[in-house]
Amino acid sequence: MVHGKSWREKTFDIFNTIIMTVLIILSVYPLYYALINSLNNGQDIINFGMVLMWPREFTLESWKTVLGDASVVRAIWITASRTAIVTVLSTFITTMFAYAFSRSYLRGRKVYAALGFVSMYVNGGIIAFFLMISELGLYNTYWVYIIPSLFGGFYNVIIYTSNFKAIPDGLLESAKMDGASEFQIYSRLVLPLSKPVIAALAIFTVVGIWNDYQTTLFYTEGTTLKTLQYYIVQLVQSANALEALKTSSAAGNAEIYQLLQETAGPTSAKTIELAAMLIASVPMIIIYPFAQKHFTQGMMIGSIKG
């Protein structure tokens, strides 16, 4: 039974709350900054710099540009399905791997460890990887988004392993005694007990896949299989290219210069980039609280750690 709080505990609480509040402000402001600038007229920003508190010239043009294209829907669909599939499957494959790896009685453990660490730190370069993808017939297909990502990376294996090792052997032994196979121990005991860490790494996976655009860039033609992030990068790049053209044409081509001057709109490469970045982050920001629930305390049943 916890007694009433001492004054020392109370000051600690106040102190803690203050620190947290400061951190909240420091964390939210940058996002707010991005938001107000994305809602501001792009030409105005070029002339007067970024806004700090409130938009100087409000406009929804940048957001409209990003969301207006029909292909954005398809891109979202591809990204969402890809993220869901890969997260579920890779969590399954990686935890299974990690479970077996964590068993001290596994023979040949060192071999797997060597393979794993080499795969983590040594890299054959983009050309070799590309050739591999091409040989497997994955180039420019939907599967290139799934298959290479199915293994979550040895980094995740290490973290899972350390968590699995912490589960008391006694628990597992008694299950074995009752006739459970390794797989059943894994699926019925170990997985449920590791919910927090699985939730954490699942979030990392989701964010990683969601933000990836290099797969689309190098391993597809980049036209029919665009992911959301790639679509955004493309949008920003072409806005940048257009601006570069506007400024460089000023010197060489008076005609183009005049023409583009007349057609300049209320967006700029910067505002489009900001709008796009926010749109891409929104789903992540929404999903996070759901995973966060799993970080709550103690799901361990039973014995105290010996």
Binding site: F48, T223, T224, A254, A264
Partner: protein, 536 residues
């Protein structure tokens, strides 16, 4: 119970995903429907073209009707050159490629992966107009620099092309002067100069410029919003290129010494003088340390919000719509007495975008027809100006005028209008569009046409493309020197006093390699660097 829920959820997710995958793989076969037209792959590293070739749009439809082609356009979002390299490694080149990077181009040429354009057209479309109206001087330049006529250049502008297409009445002088123009110079803010009662055009020597800056400094100017005005602003991001360029030319830096041997500009006393000038500005407080840390965007912002009195750099550092705020005094004479110089291309340029045809292309006849159309008069009008009546009209002087609809379609990323940069032809557009020479931006600084200026033939100092091979020792040293200079110049500019400056400059070491290489190249080509100058 909970586990069952999770399991159900998981199954639904996977099922959804599989359905998605199926739909996607099926629908990505869309291009098949254009089977009655020939489709070839067109890879671009830079463009404003929409990616889907929408035959519903008039511009696209016109092109397809005339050529029977529907190109499959690929414009990678970023790192296009790397992507092309991957395709090269995989022996899977796109049929037509529009590139800008010289290293990449050399790779393709060296590995013999691209057609000579002349040979290609002769084989597949011998009656093409390209043999008549492609300017000889450009062709020769391409051959000189790349070994053969490997590509179709964009934004063709040359003397021969001007002869072929002609100029509208009264604009010839303007375009001639444009040849001698450069987008880099000293710019002075008209409003602030007027405030001090100074005529910008009169500030034509170094002393007068320093004097003016002193006046600005003392005047304590503020812009409309009440913020402080910086006396001197320079683009610190690309000091070597953007900022030193106008100064080094105005102060007379030549790439060769008195004996006619090539000498790296860093060794020229005039270049040193240019840096000394900036150092002086810094010591006298005209150049603020903060300016040296800004990137291009911030510099632009400062200039555009009226917070700069004097700007030395390129027009691209200012923004459109603000031209009338600035004026250039013309060449500023160095206090050391050297006359300003201006690099003139004795030969012609080879365009910005270069379009190549891969030797393994699958529909050569169609590609030939496409190139023929896009580079000919009819095609150029369609892809640059649109449909007659709707997007433009001819006036009674045979000049083309865009309509409002036409103007709004430019670069709208849907109609394709004006998006085919690879086939933009500068001389052609000049011949059909009337430009009011009087209204044209004063910022087209015609530095080179002033008779105070010594014009020199800069193309003599161009190495043939690929002479310095990527990855060679030369290339490495060149890179090192560039990096070194980028770091050293700011330090030199910000030295505290003359003594420190001198000490630093004297100990700054630049590699001799460039001297050797260019002299070698000139010797090989049999050119005497000093003699072959157009002079005054």
């Amino acid at each position: 119970m909970k586990r069952k829920k999770l399991l159900a959820l998981g199954t639904v997710v996977i099922a959804l995903g599989i359905v998605a995958a199926i739909i996607i793989t099926m629908t990505s076969k869309a291009p098949e429907e254009s089977e009655k037209y020939a489709a070839f792959e067109w890879f671009l590293t830079a463009s404003a073209l929409p990616e889907t070739w929408d035959v519903e749009q008039p511009v696209f439809r016109a092109i397809t009707d005339a050529t029977n082609c529907t190109p499959i356009v690929t414009i990678p979002a970023t790192d296009a050159d790397t992507k092309l390299n991957l395709m090269i490694a995989n022996n899977d080149l796109p049929d037509m490629m529009t590139l800008t990077n010289d290293d990449l181009i050399n790779e393709l040429i060296e590995a013999d992966l691209v057609w000579d354009l002349g040979e290609f057209m002769e084989t597949y479309l011998p009656e093409s107009h390209i043999f008549e109206d492609f300017p000889e001087d450009v062709k020769n330049e391409i051959i000189r620099r790349y070994g053969s006529w490997y590509f179709y250049p964009s934004h063709i502008v040359s003397d021969d092309a001007a002869e072929i297409w002609g100029y509208p009445e009264g604009t010839e002088a303007y375009y001639e002067a444009l040849k001698y123009s450069d987008q880099f110079s000293v710019f002075i803010n008209t409003a602030y100069a007027a405030q001090l009662g100074v005529d910008v055009k009169s500030v034509d020597t170094e002393e007068k410029l320093l004097d003016l800056m002193q006046q600005f400094n003392k005047a304590g100017l503020k812009n409309e919003a009440g913020a402080d005005v910086y006396t001197l602003v320079i683009p610190a991001e690309e000091l070597k290129e953007m900022n030193m360029r106008p100064l080094k030319y105005q102060f007379g830096t030549l790439p060769y010494n008195e004996e006619g041997n090539y000498r790296s500009e860093y060794y020229a006393p005039q270049y040193r003088h240019a840096i000394e000038f900036l150092n002086k500005c810094y010591q006298l407080g005209y150049l603020d340390q903060n300016i040296m840390t800004l990137d291009g965007t911030s510099t632009k912002t400062i200039c555009n919000s009226g917070r700069a009195a004097v700007y030395i750099g390129g027009i691209s550092g200012l923004n459109m719509g603000h031209d009338d705020e600035w004026q250039t005094p013309g060449p500023v004479l160095s206090s050391a007495g050297d006359s300003p110089v201006f690099p003139v291309r004795g030969t012609t340029g080879v365009g910005w975008l270069k379009t190549f045809i891969s030797k393994n292309c699958e529909n050569p006849e169609e590609i030939a027809r496409f190139i023929d159309y896009m580079s000919g008069r009819e095609g150029m009008i369609v892809h640059m100006y649109g449909i007659e009546g709707e997007d433009y009209s001819w006036d009674d002087q045979n000049m083309l005028n865009r309509t409002e609809t036409g103007k709004s379609k430019v670069e709208d990323s849907v109609s394709g209008m004006f998006g085919f940069y690879a086939f933009h032809h500068t001389n052609f557009s000049r011949s059909v569009e009337y430009i009011d020479a009087a209204n044209a931006s004063d910022l087209q600084i015609s530095l080179g046409s002033s008779d105070k200026v010594f014009r020199y033939n800069s193309s003599l100092f161009d190495l043939p493309a690929g002479y310095i091979e990527a990855g060679s020792d030369y290339a490495f040293i060149k890179n090192e020197v560039n990096n070194y200079v980028e770091t050293e110049i700011p330090k030199l500019i910000m030295s505290k006093d003359e003594e420190t400056f001198n000490k630093m400059y004297d100990s700054t070491v630049y590699d001799e390699y460039v001297n050797i290489v260019v002299q070698e190249a000139a010797a090989e080509a049999g050119i005497d660097l000093k003699e072959a100058q157009p002079g005054k």
